[in-house]
Amino acid sequence: MTPELNLSRDPAHIRHGSNIGQPLSRVDGLAKVTGRATYAADNNPPGLLYAVLAVSSIARGRVTALDVDAAKAHPGVVEVMTQANRPPLHADPDGKPNPFAFRFEALQNDRVRYANQPIAVVIAESLEAATEGAALLAPRYEAEPARIGLDADAAYVPPAVGMGSPAEERHGDVEAALAGSDRQITAVYETPPHYHNAMEPHAIVAEWQGDRLVIDTPTQGLVMMRARLAELFGIAPENILIRSPYLGGGFGGKGLMAGPQVLGILAAKMVGRPVKLVARREQLYGPFGHRSPTRQTLRLGANAAGQLAGIHHHARIATSSFEDFYESAAHLTHTLYAAPAIATTYDAVRMDTGTPLFVRAPGIAPGSIALESAVDEMAAACGLDPLAFRVKNYAEVEPSTGKPFSSKALRECYTQGAERFGWWDRPLKPRMMRDKDGFLVGWGMGTATFHALMFAGQARAVIRRDGSGVVESGAHDMGQGAWTAFAQIAADSLALERDQVTFRAGTSDLPDAGIAGGSAHTATVGTPIHNAGAAVIAKLAELATSDQRSPLFGAGNAGVIARSGRLLRRDDEGRGESYADILARAGLDQVEGSGSGMPDPAANEQYAMHSHGAVFAEVKVDPDLGQVRVTRMVGAFAAGRIINPKLVKSQLIGGMIWGISLALHEEAVTDPRSGRIMNANLGEYHVPVNADVPAIEAFTVEEHDPFVNPLGIKGVGEIGITGSAGAVANAVAHATGFRVRRFPVRISDLVRAGA
């Protein structure tokens, strides 16, 4: 445990602030709505050239010819980069130096491994010239049959799933438990490939200044990306500056460096000028990761009273032909419902697609819609209300490990959510409710869950001679509100008002803020900010209490309190002085402290750490036409300490809308013959529009967690999706009496079923 952590958990010196917990509006909001916020592609350094990717239209095979001459002959085209002439890299794109380094394409050979793979880069004086140059390349291929779909190839058991979880995990004898159950169900659920579809496409502006590389690119992991680039280009990390102040959505798609970013940097190297490369919308469906399709088989057994005896959750998933990433879709089953026997198993197939990677709520999102659907089916088999069934099988300790939860206010979520929704008026049988216009009405619910993570992070804090503060950490704002939440924590860490503290983030030369992922960023960055502030206050206290001229002289043992820019004696708050006075007397311009944070291994060993929630949904279904409309949603969540309730509510509502999307809309349609995605645009890859989003109520219940991290933060970025998708799917089943198990629920399914 770091000294800072000791300090913050049992501080000799107390800091008082009230910024945490305030529903502040985004500090970057004005800049964004007035267009002053510069996203990566908004940068136009002098001498800029434009690079455009040429991408493959086959999914597997070789590029046999590119008409480079035609492209180069086009007015404005400066250079065409292909596998024949691209500058060398210091490391192999197909190498695997660490588990977070995923293989990528940087024109290392003529192989094509998926549709939309980059096969050349055209660099020109204008975007238009580069675009036309790319079209003129008219690639020829030697194509091999594409392997697309969950039955496209022989299935195998992957070596591990997610980030190293076992592909087979058994607690108790599931087969015996199922065999001995009074009630059993087996159901197979399918989810399609999903793409991140952030509003802002991946983009890079790269400029070489001698050996130094300066890039603007959206990333959820500045320092990790810097390390990867340093290795690939054979330069010191300090010689790379990445600027990423704003992301127009990340959702995991910008968590890791991707091939096109490397190609942008190589292009800049090749032409000796700054280069901008922006992926076109359809080009985002390939080299930047996606969510694997899943086919999940759930087997549940319960006794006649509705007590679960066993759950077997099996997931068939896909990865690419050249890389291993396995969506851990079954894993949440170990944490949610109290069954004495739980098993999760996986098998996988290789497909000719880009590598599936992290997409918002990896594993949990598709796993949750399947598990919550199956639990609903089991409740029905037992003749129980879905919520009553869940409460009956409430896990007081984590079912598979037997660990106590660090905190778990799920019961309160169930109670308060059901109350606000009016759940207990729900008829048990499906197809019992109609509105006055004759539409079928259904109510469904789901349990939300997401692990409470944090990563290692660092921060620096300064108090300046005028008493104001500066706090720095290379944090990432993906639109979730990091600029604001961290400014609030920073102000409290120094016991100053928010407008007295400058918060700096978003560049790779600041202290390492880890990665903005796993719903862990607030804990990952909040903890070191909190500790850096404590370190500065401790230094100021040391200056004052050891100085005979200070009214705080000799207060060392009693300690001091920092409040509103002043230090006060803890045992006599009438005696104190301002930060500015302390620094002036000491003849110092500023005092600086650093803080770090990391997960506490002992606490993680002892406790299961998860956020929870309960989501309730109402849908209406046209009985003749099969069209579905979500009309009401209520989500109650327990996620530890809430730094900014306004931002948190936005995150939760956004997650719940994503849940609607998963249940009713999202699907990448892949032609099984060509491997090309046929709806690679925001017109036809459906996500909910305003008319699909009903009145949504999201709120948090009180939850204090003394174990997850010093600030008690659990994270809210992903949990909103979980539970919600299942709640909508269950509501459709309750409305119609027909269970759709292939998501998204389509009009054709409900028409065929005679909705």
């Binding site: 010239a129 209406k620 032609d671 008319a691 699909d692 028409v751």
Partner: protein, 352 residues
């Protein structure tokens, strides 16, 4: 960049002269054409920008009561024209159910009539598409075709026409006014679009250089104003093309149907007028049995072209629903969610 000529004529005559060049295309607001150009689906050698032709931006009523809509009238302007929406409510409802508010503000009447299919294989230039490249084949036939045609398709092409606007227009006998190198002519909207047959690359009767200058709704179509609806089933509640849509209009006299109009969208390469169903309805009592018989007649020749058999029962149900809705009477106000099956639900309405 892909070099093309760009001209912006000041008069219709100049535009037609400019478009005589081979490979010329008329450009109005470009909500479809520019996307197609960016995707290399079409590569016109010359764009004739007609947005300067102010004479095509008017909505006029002629002496005989016909309403003449200039080809450059914006979709939103037409839909929100109070007098037009009162007289032709199903047309206004169809317009407001299409695309998004931003697109409706830009898209023009003439452009809407000439928008291309949304078949993904047409847009994907690496796929075979007889419509895009005559004789190249049809990858939709054995591909992802759950949204494709169930009426009037051929082995060469199973694409659908995506327009909402055209569905009530064909139901109410709209006339298309065309100017071209050989002068002025008129065709009924029903005759404007062609079924694919063996030549799916030919989508309309327009010959090179011809321009739609106006669409006319006959005065007689006002007779349906009290009983006219457009209903559209879609996979999300706004900003989605129709899976199936229906325009229905009735003239009711003493509880029975004097005259009926019925057309379908999303089912064929053209807006699909169901004349036989109309004939069956005329003179009948306006009841469910009559509506079901009409629906059966409208779909008698329907057959799946792929994974889309569900569209046939869906269209049948939608026809019955639209006729029922028309029978109940045109709503006094435009529903907040135009053309939606949910448009009758109070309390949950949002702007489309």
């Amino acid at each position: 960049m892909n070099r093309f000529d760009y001209v912006k004529p000041a008069t219709v005559a100049e535009a037609i002269a400019a478009a005589a060049a081979p490979g010329a295309a008329y450009l109005a607001s470009g909500t479809n054409l520019l996307d197609l150009m960016k995707g290399n689906v079409v590569r016109p050698a010359r764009l004739v920008d007609i947005t300067g032709l102010k004479e095509l931006t008017r909505i006029e009523t002629s002496g005989n009561g016909d309403v003449r809509i200039g080809a450059l009238v914006r979709n939103a302007d037409l839909a929100y024209d109070a007098s037009f929406a009162k007289d032709f409510p199903a047309v206004a409802e169809a317009l407001l159910s299409g695309a998004s508010a931003q697109l409706r503000n830009a898209a023009t009447v003439g452009g809407n009539l000439l928008q291309r299919t949304r078949c993904a294989y047409f847009y994907d230039t690496a796929s075979a598409c007889n419509k895009r490249t005559a004789g190249s084949g049809c990858d939709a036939r054995d591909g992802e075709n759950s949204q494709h045609a169930v009426l009037g398709w051929s082995e060469a092409c199973i694409a659908t026409n995506p327009s909402d606007f055209c569905v009530p227009l064909t139901a109410f006998d709209a006339i298309v006014e065309i100017e071209g190198p050989a002068g002025r002519r008129e065709v009924s909207l029903d005759a404007l679009h062609l079924l694919p047959g063996r030549t799916p690359e030919r989508e309309t009767v327009l010959v090179p250089g011809e321009m739609i200058v106006a669409v006319r709704l006959p005065a007689a179509a006002r007779a349906f104003a009290g009983h006219a609806r457009y209903l559209k089933v879609r996979e999300r509640n706004s900003y989605a093309f129709a899976v199936v849509s229906t325009a229905a209009g009735l003239v009711i006299e003493n509880g029975s149907i004097r005259e009926a109009r019925l057309a379908l969208g999303g089912v064929a390469a053209k807006p699909w007028r169901a004349r036989e169903a109309e004939t069956l309805l005329a003179g009948q009592a306006a009841d469910a049995r009559a509506f079901e018989r009409a629906a059966d007649a409208a779909l008698r020749d329907a057959k799946p072209s792929g994974d889309n058999a569900y569209k046939i029962p869906l269209a049948r149900q939608l026809i019955v629903r639209a006729l029922q809705a028309a029978m109940q009477g045109t709503p006094a106000r435009m529903p907040a969610l135009p053309a939606s099956p949910f448009s009758s639900v109070p309390g949950v309405l949002h702007d489309a």
